[in-house]
Symmetry: C2
Amino acid sequence: MTDGLPHTLRSDALDNRERILDAARALFSADGLDVPMREIARRAGVGPATLYRHFPTKQVLATEAFADQLRACRTIVDDGCADPDPWRGLCLVIEKICELHARDRGFSEAFMAAFPGAPEVGGREYTVKAVAGLAQRAKDAGRLRSDFVLDDLILVLMANKGIHTRSADTQVMASRRFAALAIQAFEASPQHTPLPPAARLTAAAPDNSV
Amino acid sequence: MTDGLPHTLRSDALDNRERILDAARALFSADGLDVPMREIARRAGVGPATLYRHFPTKQVLATEAFADQLRACRTIVDDGCADPDPWRGLCLVIEKICELHARDRGFSEAFMAAFPGAPEVGGREYTVKAVAGLAQRAKDAGRLRSDFVLDDLILVLMANKGIHTRSADTQVMASRRFAALAIQAFEASPQHTPLPPAARLTAAAPDNSV
DNA sequence: ACGCTAACGGACGCCCCCGTCCGTTTAGGT
DNA sequence: ACCTAAACGGACGGGGGCGTCCGTTAGCGT
């Protein structure tokens, strides 16, 4: 994008680049973002210098490595918004995003780490607005509790990140059940008692009114 | 307890011991269990050797440092069990434990880390059984959903641990709201749809039947 | 007041991670 | 086939945490 470099990478360089990204994806997914850069290099079968040449910082590497997941996120949100039943759409979004995070620990960390500071990763602003709209429609339809706030969704995602288990399968299972519980909590109900005030989790979101 | 040492510590040793525990409590609470041992020593105004002499491993230090919180935990559970209304008792337990964990990040980590492996910390077995009984009574009273499992409570506590914010106040606020949502999810309701199967979170708990 | 010993803490060696430099290899154009 | 520059990776110095050793300090009993 912003590189004034010779636009054609040498074939071996391109190959290494891909292998590095593969290794990064594998390790980030399994072990989170805290894996040493060298570990990634080792797994990719390259030297540390090569790794740093391609991706000067871990942030850059992570961003590239999670491009797919970010796209998946947007697709999930778009699908949810496209659903004629806004409540069903919102439920799908919650379930799918939770599962995505459960399957990929590194992405989960990166995704949530991006929230306090708002450096606008990959059209987040737009996506957040879309979800806000979806939630509003679900409220209007009387299916989503009226005191729901967008921060509640972030709260649930943060919480979902806290669920760690040894096996990946167990992780997904636990996360699924958690998402289902969250949805039950969000569903409008005649019996629900007032919630304690929501905490502001986003640093400087323009409106968390919905 | 198990020390065959000269039962009288020298006055300065005792003093240092207390200062170390204070420092550990402060740092563990604020920053979690990952603080370097040396940082604790520095804060306590002692050398590293002194720290290691008193507490040979971080595990030992943490256990001692969190004795109060562990007692608080048991008190909370006992109070909850003593409540004539089992549902109200269970709600209190959830709220209080979540708040405890929110106020003390280190304790939260230590507490949950103890779960997969079951080295029986401080009468955990007994407490777990007590909560199980409370939950069963809440179910019998028709207030707790019948497909609730004890692992769901652990799930919620794990999830609660995932909630991190910058300020401690915000943390408690967020955790409070989260606990309220969890309670709503657990409450029996005519409209609730079946949950996906619960994942086994405890390593070898004898019965998670409740 | 004195001495004995418990208790202290500075300093050491170890290991792991970080980011960079520079001599070597190799792709790809002629 | 050859040459050039792009690309590689081993190796280095720096920093920080870990757990331990040992020479020094100071509590406490006489």
